[in-house]
Amino acid sequence: MALDDVYTEVLGEHSRNPDHKHHLACATCTMKGHNPSCGDEITLELNVEDGMVKEAAFTGVGCAISQASTDIMAELIRGKSVEEARGLAQKFISMIKGEITDEEELEELDEALALKNVAHMPARVKCAVLAWHTLDDALKSDK
């Protein structure tokens, strides 16, 4: 596989200039995610009201794949219901695990589709899914 199948422009853009990497003054819920083996660390901050994810942001350190994945996720889940957001997390994780490959079925992942080829890099799967597992944990405990 060619490197630019993984290090796509979308990924580069989000890792160099993340839109949502900051603290959230109005956070109702924060959740830490960590990959001990590689040291990726994020703290997800969410504003959840009336079953809706109103705002999402994050802080932390990690590789381009984990940072871009988190930024893209934050953008995607804003304005979604908790149920929808968790559904997206499930779908994204399934995509990276290679369980769902059908483009149509994955369409709602929007920009996150740019990370699809990480499925072919077993060493980096953990980096891609960190944010989404953390999101799932956050929304699970928010209930």
């Binding site: 490197l3 290090y7 160099r16 040291g39 990726d40 381009a64 890099m121 980096r124």
Partner: protein, 411 residues
């Protein structure tokens, strides 16, 4: 150095292809590749000599016992131990260090005592001492670093005190690649009545080691970082100290008499080798020692030095590369180069290098406290060995030059 190729031919993995590419293997700090002499010795053991040593009266078992015990003798000669009984086989350096922590540390450290280690220790020579300190109400103290990455001489002088019971240091840091003057640390430890544990994991395959000259009380290393198979490691300990220690693991082969309610222990070294041991691994270790001594450490050091001297000036020309432990004021740099590329996380660097068949390590290298001390979250590490060539370095550096571009940064 054309004659370096002479050794490369002995390493089947490096001559083969992985995903269609010859690999430039620069992760020798993690584990080394194995020469066919070692692979053959393991096959030879399982193909013609396998039996449970020490247990059977038949010829095959005697043969297996011979192989195992001659590995012990060979290892004793290799690190210049006084006697073979001072060599305990373990599964790796980590187990060897835990053996010392459990069987020496828990017995000899008490409340208010101190254990002194350095900030550049591998977790294997750090976490066991945290455990002992916590369990006994002792204090774990750290020797920090000078600007150039070497251990602070002042800390060595002031932190090792009358309260110190154990000093544990690595002979070569697995991140910074700097050789510590362990002989003088041992002296300092002894001057206050402490024992000194030396982690030889990153030294023993790269330089001649003489445990009697160092006068250390314990010395630990793994076979797999010195051309041997995984699963065989070594703890050297001074006879009188080992003899006075309680066993670590209990069971078969380590006993003298077993009564219903109590047991007595076998003599050294069996006391510390409970259960069936890794004889195939020991056979591989013997072959590795033969191989290394055939080459000589003078030669190995010269090869590694040539590679470091060849790589460093080229790395220094790249403005976006930050190097760690490469400006030592002493002549003590080994073939390990830790680095970061500006703006790029080490894991991305490693992935991009891997795409060109260059294998380096990325992460905290089991040295989180050191990375925190250096204010780095993680780093990349290239580590060389006797089969590496200048061509490997060329490939590494060519690939490094691509990294920032792949992520969309300007040079």
């Amino acid at each position: 150095m054309a004659d370096v190729q002479e050794f490369l031919k002995d390493f089947p993995l490096l001559n083969g292809e992985i995903d269609g590419k010859h690999i430039a293997y620069l992760d020798n700090g993690a584990t080394t590749q194995k020469p066919h002499q070692v692979i053959q010795s393991i096959c030879g053991y399982y193909g013609g000599c396998n039996a449970n040593p020490h247990r059977g009266a038949y010829a095959l078992s005697v043969k297996a016992t011979d192989i195992y015990e001659s590995a012990r003798k060979r290892t004793a000669q290799f690190i210049k131990a006084k006697r073979p009984a001072e060599i305990i086989f373990t599964k790796n350096a980590t187990e060897a260090l835990n053996l010392v922590a459990y069987s020496y540390g828990l017995q000899n450290v008490g409340a208010g005592d101190e254990i002194v280690i350095s900030i550049s220790e591998h977790h294997s020579n750090l976490v066991p001492w945290q455990f002992v300190a916590k369990a006994k109400g002792a204090t774990l103290k750290y020797i920090y670093l000078e600007e150039d990455g070497n251990l602070s001489q002042e800390d060595i002088e002031t932190k090792i005190t009358e309260r110190t019971k154990i000093v544990a240091v690595t002979q070569v840091s697995n991140v910074l690649g700097l050789k510590n003057d362990v002989k003088s640390i041992v002296k300092k430890a002894h001057s206050v009545g402490a024992v000194c544990v030396v982690d030889g994991s990153q030294s023993v395959a790269h330089m001649a080691v003489d445990v009697q000259d160092l006068d250390c009380d314990f010395f630990a290393f793994s076979g797999h970082k010195m051309l041997s198979p995984m699963g065989i490691g070594v703890l050297y300990g001074k006879y009188e100290i080992l003899d006075a220690m309680e066993p670590f693991l209990r069971g078969g082969d380590m006993i003298e008499y077993v009564q219903e309610q109590e047991s007595t222990w076998a003599e050294l070294p069996s006391k510390f080798e409970a259960g069936t041991q890794n004889v195939g691994g020991a056979a591989g270790l013997t072959a590795a020692i033969d191989y290394l001594e055939g080459i000589t450490f003078d030669r190995i050091e010269a090869i590694e030095k040539d590679l470091v001297d060849y790589a460093l000036p080229q790395l220094r020309e790249l403005p976006y590369i930050e190097l760690y432990g490469c400006d030592s004021k002493q002549d003590n740099k080994t073939g390990i180069i830790a680095f970061n590329i500006k703006d790029v996380h080490p894991h991305d660097v490693a992935t991009i290098l891997d795409n060109d068949g260059v294998a380096v390590r990325a992460g905290h290298h089991c040295a989180q406290p050191l990375h925190r001390y250096l204010q780095q979250n993680a780093s990349c590490r290239a580590s060389f060995y006797l089969y590496n060539t200048r061509e490997d370095i060329d490939r590494w550096i060519a690939a490094l030059k691509k990294v920032r571009g792949v992520l969309g940064y300007g040079a």
